[in-house]
């Protein structure tokens, strides 16, 4: 097997919650050795051997070091001196107070790269604001614009800000590592998660900055090329005795018809019912104008079908359509994701195994891999202190006895 792309890179990881761990998880999946430095009793977030916490921490090592003790800080600084990258998601004062900020660390490791992924950045009047992904989504406009027609916010059910911040953090780290390879120089990256998620509503921001247009919820209007039909349509309920599980009337199909050719194939796939040849649906302009009526016709067609059957009929006619998959559809029934092995299995410490979220791309020269489940806090103390820092067993025991390192 070829080496993983980031083999030989060591990351000292002070991040927590979601966005930071997503960034360092991506680096771990691609071969970096990620060493988490953390408290013995972090806020209870769940079991790192399963589910979300496993997805966030998989492939990493954990050392439980007491950063409230000067000797703990000294251990962390020694680890930094043996690392390529130090990542955190604190506001500016935390790392500085420990002497772990970029300016301090570069004195002991001249080519160190520090990536700080704070909520609102290290500078500016609101740099000390406390934030989480859902609050950053609110500040940027995502929450307000993801609304039903009556305008009241309706979500989010998940935290895109955390994921977007995590991806941007991983990208900044990779770019800085690449730059160091060419120049030999490290640097400090001050990333604002707020800005990371704000940046990607770019077309809306330009519409405001250039045209002064008030932004309203899109509903199911296309946010790309105009389209009609474009939306989700209620499908046939699943009966309790049907294959695939319990009764379920929360079944929907997404349909997107952008071009005239797609519309013609769409109408044919429905069996060309009379309404599809009515003049009011013959151009995209008219379909958008008469959309409510168009959607009512389509809903009558989908109501008699399961979303899977309707999707198959439309995709056979090369029309974009997809089941609105719930968690079970996604993880246990989607034939594409299972065929591509998107839910790999990793062994748990208990000798059993669990499935995890895969890596959404394959690289012929060496794909990333999910190497292990997440570590319990302090699980790798011996490795980190013994192998990386070269401390003897007696020295490690003394650090534990004096509360500098937690078992």
């Amino acid at each position: 097997m070829p080496p993983l792309p980031l083999e030989g890179i060591r990351v000292l990881d002070f991040t927590w919650v979601v966005a930071g761990p997503v960034a360092t998880r991506i680096l771990a999946d691609h071969g970096a050795q990620v060493v988490k430095v953390e408290r013995k009793n972090p806020a209870p977030m769940g079991n790192r051997k399963l589910g979300l916490q496993c997805d966030l921490h998989r492939g990493k090592l954990s050392a439980a070091i007491n950063m409230g003790d000067p000797r703990g800080v000294e251990l962390a600084r020694k680890l930094a001196a043996k690392s390529d990258l130090v990542m955190d998601n604190f506001s500016a004062r935390v790392m500085r107070a420990w002497g772990m900020d970029y300016e301090s660390l570069k004195k002991i490791k001249p080519d160190i790269i520090c990536v700080s992924m704070s909520g609102l950045g290290h500078t500016g009047p609101r740099s000390s604001y406390v934030s989480y992904g859902p609050t950053l989504q609110a500040l940027t406009g995502y929450t307000m614009l993801m609304a039903e027609a009556d305008g009241e916010p309706a979500g989010y059910g998940y935290s895109y800000a955390d994921m977007c911040g995590g991806y941007t953090g991983a990208l900044a780290a990779l770019a800085a590592l690449w730059s160091r390879k060419q120049t030999g120089r490290g640097q400090f990256v001050d990333l604002s998660q707020f800005e990371a998620v704000a940046a990607v509503i770019g077309p809306s921001l330009l519409d405001i900055s250039v045209n002064g247009r008030e932004q309203k919820p899109f509903g199911y209007d296309s946010q790309e090329a105009p389209a009609a039909p474009h939306g989700i349509y209620k499908c046939h309920a699943r009966k309790a005795d049907a294959p695939g599980g319990a009764a379920d009337d929360d079944r929907w199909l997404a349909i997107s018809v952008h071009t005239q050719a797609e519309w013609e194939r769409f109408a044919a796939a429905l069996g060309s019912p009379e309404w599809t040849s009515e003049p009011k649906f013959q151009t995209l302009y008219l379909r958008i104008r008469n959309r409510a009526e168009l959607d009512a016709h389509i809903s009558r067609w989908t109501a008699e079908r399961s979303p899977e059957d309707a999707m198959a009929a439309l995709q056979a006619a090369r029309v974009a359509a997809g089941v609105v998959e719930n968690g079970i559809d996604l993880c246990a029934r989607d034939p594409q994701l299972s065929e591509r092995g998107f839910w790999p299995t990793v062994a748990t410490a208990a000798g059993a195994a669990t499935q995890v979220t895969g890596i959404p791309f394959r690289i012929t020269s060496g794909s990333g891999v999910v190497r292990s489940t997440g570590p319990d806090v302090g699980e790798n103390n011996d490795y980190v202190l013994g192998e990386i820092l070269g401390l003897s067993r007696a020295e490690r025991e003394e650090l534990i006895a004096s509360g500098v390192v937690w078992l």
Binding site: L52, L120, R126, P153, G155, A176, I255
Partner: protein, 401 residues
């Protein structure tokens, strides 16, 4: 003299359509030389609005501008055999080619990974497709909304018992672009180990599924399908509330004592001063009731005043704002997030969202405004690829460039 960007020296050929153009923009922002290859007449993204002053024109599309800042542009019909030949020549000096054609198209054009590898063994080809290059859905069609559906992202948004609500902001495309850039950078590091290039097969469905943090984890841990919960976040520590003049995002992960003292002082604590709420687990279990009480507390407050007071107590509250507010945001202004980009053809200077990171060694900057249709064709084909002028004239006559 400005220091070079972090990816200075890399060359990227961007053959993507509008679904994946953010990916190459990430490279351009970091200082790589990114050449957008567009069909003669202009890339299809140039026909997507909004447009400057709502006047549709290929050189006025704000949609195109956002995704193509910092790139150069070359018109080239790669579906024409001579156009494909020009692309193969360009690939010799490229590090990365990014494409988002239907699977199999590149090979049919003589531009598949094996074709390009013959020209340049170190080349990295990044293929971004709705469902990837393999599997039963390989040839299926999808746009952002259909990908939201097939990734579990759509189902969890909205109120229980009502229709799912679609996310804002082309999150399927953007997640794919972020993962695409991560993948291509990873392949560059792998190339340094082996000298060999790579073909990357990225599935937008997978990238979108990976961007929903809790749905797969809940299934694999507890065998449940995460439901829709309205504005209550799945963690149960956040919910939208309504102030006198707008919405606020509550959060119960801050210091509980100081929050509840404030609510109590306002006479609105009801049962929340019960010490049981000091435990995070109790707040988790009682989330619906807890947020109902807090909603009643905030309803007379002006939104911005509530936010300022909450943040002084280090409560992670936020106002629920429209994106317009970002242009007046003091924090973004202090960090110089919005940047002025000159569009001399229109006689206008336009504010763009800038970079979400400050890199002190390799600063981000605007290298050039988004390109006009085929703006750099001459520079690239004649100046850099050294095609003779009569060859260029012949290609132009055939409609290849």
């Amino acid at each position: 003299m400005n220091p070079p960007g972090a990816l200075a020296g890399l060359r990227v050929l961007d053959l993507t359509d509008y679904r994946a153009q953010l990916c190459a923009r990430i490279f351009a922002d970091l200082g790589a030389d990114v050449i957008k290859i567009e069909t003669p007449g202009g890339d299809a993204a140039r026909r997507i609005g909004p447009f400057v002053d709502d006047v549709p024109h290929p050189d006025r599309s704000l949609f195109f501008w956002f995704y193509n800042l910092n790139k150069r542009a070359l018109t080239l019909d790669v579906h024409h055999p001579e156009g494909a030949e020009v692309l193969r020549k360009l690939a010799r000096s490229a590090d990365i080619v990014i494409e988002s054609f239907a699977p199999g198209t590149m090979a049919r054009l003589g531009l598949g990974y094996d074709d390009l590898r013959r020209e340049n063994p170190a080349l990295i080809l990044l293929s971004i497709a709705p469902f990837g290059q393999t599997g039963p859905y390989r040839d299926f069609k999808a746009d952002d909304t259909v990908l939201n559906a097939l990734s579990g992202m759509l189902y969890v948004n909205g109120f229980p018992g009502r229709a799912p609500v679609r996310p804002l902001g082309l999150q399927a495309y953007h997640s794919s672009a972020h993962y695409g850039a991560i993948a291509a950078l990873s392949a560059l590091f792998a190339r340094d180990h082996s000298g060999a290039g790579a073909w990357i097969d990225l599935s937008m469905q997978e990238a979108t599924a990976a961007a929903v943090e809790h749905v797969a984890g809940s299934y694999f841990e507890n065998k449940i399908a995460e439901p829709r919960r309205g504005t209550l976040h799945w963690s149960r520590f956040f919910r939208v509330g309504r102030c006198r003049d707008g919405h606020i995002m509550h959060c119960t992960l801050g210091d509980w004592t100081s929050l509840i003292e404030w609510v109590k002082a306002d006479g609105k604590a009801q049962d929340l001063d019960d010490p049981a709420y000091d435990q995070v687990l109790h707040r988790y279990l009682m989330a619906e009731h807890l947020f109902d009480v807090l909603d009643d507390w905030v309803k007379e407050y002006p939104r911005d005043e509530l936010l300022e007071r909450a943040q002084l107590l280090r409560q992670p509250y936020a106002t629920v704002r429209k994106p317009e507010a970002l242009f007046d945001d003091e924090q973004l202004a202090a960090r110089g997030f919005f940047v002025a980009v000159e569009h001399p053809e229109l006689g206008r200077t336009i504010r763009y969202p800038g970079a979400p990171y400050v890199m002190n060694g390799t600063p981000w900057r605007v290298y050039r405004r988004p390109p006009l249709v085929g703006e750099h064709s001459g520079d690239i084909l004649h100046g850099e690829l050294e095609l003779a002028l009569d060859e260029l004239a012949a290609l132009a006559a055939e409609g290849v460039i």
